[in-house]
Symmetry: C2
Subunit: 199 residues, 2 copies
DNA sequence: CTCTTCCGACCGAGCGATCGCTCGGTTTAG
DNA sequence: CTAAACCGAGCGATCGCTCGGTCGGAAGAG
């Protein structure tokens, strides 16, 4: 039985959503017309509307897919790691960095197009973002409670670490000087220093 | 002689640019029509075009104003601080956090609308961003060379610190649980741990 | 097997609305 | 009287989206 070992592999997107994702990354939601999405997907405009109700729905599907993928991967990483705070922390930071390095496009959209979402979808998206943040909050809290992490400001350190990891999607290039593994290693070292992990 | 002691005070924007800034923050550049900018500024559309050549020029003026303000404030903060690496680092991190807390709107636009800039303006903007990043790189390098900072990955730590500070513009609320001074204090502690400052 | 029916996938054309921007003025301050 | 500041109206282009189809292959009837 073949197992997919690709790091951070997401369930695949439809060709249409793939095209929309590329356009949204390059031009933004409002800067992208459905005509260029259709052209990039090799379809006519009505052909596109046969599969999706609106441009807004494509954005919502993309954002939901990205956030639920990240959350599920985070849960899996935490479940697979040892239960001590440092192992949990390493697993979560590694997962975050890997996701934002390998899945730059969905990750970039997930935090740059929040304001383009309809009100209800925006509420749902923010709830998912908060849940993701809470994972880090809890791991750090546990580490501080166990005396493993020495940061005097766990809440702000948690926010700082999550934002430094999510920002990876903005600048990391696969063909740059750092391989993904090197990137993860270095960010693990940096993040451990940020929360004052023992040792 | 009255001295303006407001932290991070920028040279004031014209009412038109102020209106454009608010619109760009709320709806994004492509999501904002010149008609709503004009309405927010209390002008007609031609009245607006009497002062600015195009919507694109308003964006360019805003981005340039934000980046040059941040850079000048950073230079001032570094010049006013003691010359030892830790004092320089504290000055620069404090300046970054303060700017992104007090000047959320310009800071937010400066990194969220890069792709909306014309090619030449985008090149200039990225050059300014790189220069800003280099300030942090140099301060951290000096600290590592002097044995004051112990991070094994100065380049990535510099990027991590700059991104955690700039991300403040995304989430900080003046009416939230942290005053600006508390925020700066905590981020200084966190940033010093991130680069492994002595003591 | 052929014929008919049906349905999902798709498209050319174009609707009404809005876009960035401008023309040809009038108003206002000095 | 000049010039800067401003505006009503509207240009051509493009926007998101839809109407009224065509087309090919699966399914059912004989």
């Amino acid at each position: 039985m073949a197992i997919d070992t690709t790091p951070s592999a997401l369930t695949p997107l439809s060709p249409i959503l793939e095209a929309a994702q590329e356009c949204f990354v390059e031009q933004g939601y409002h800067g992208t017309s459905i005509r260029v999405i259709a052209a990039r997907a090799g379809l006519s405009v009505p052909g596109l509307y046969h599969h999706y109700r609106s441009k807004q729905q494509m954005l919502q599907d993309l954002m939901k897919h990205a956030m639920t993928s990240l959350y599920r991967q985070s849960e899996d990483a935490l479940a697979a790691a040892a239960s001590d705070p440092l192992a949990q922390f390493n697993a979560l930071v590694g997962c975050l960095v890997r996701f934002h390095a390998f899945e730059r496009a969905p990750a970039f959209i997930a935090y740059s197009e929040i304001r383009s979402l309809d009100e209800e979808a925006r509420r749902e998206h923010i709830a998912r973002r908060d849940a993701q943040q809470r994972l880090m909050d809890q791991v750090i809290e546990a580490g501080v409670a166990a005396g493993e992490f020495s940061t005097p400001h766990p809440t702000e350190a948690s926010r700082a670490i999550v934002t430094m990891c999510t920002s990876v999607a903005q600048w990391y290039r696969m063909d740059g000087p750092l391989t993904p593994d090197e990137l993860v290693d270095r960010y693990l070292v940096i993040a451990r220093m940020t929360i004052g992990a023992r040792g």
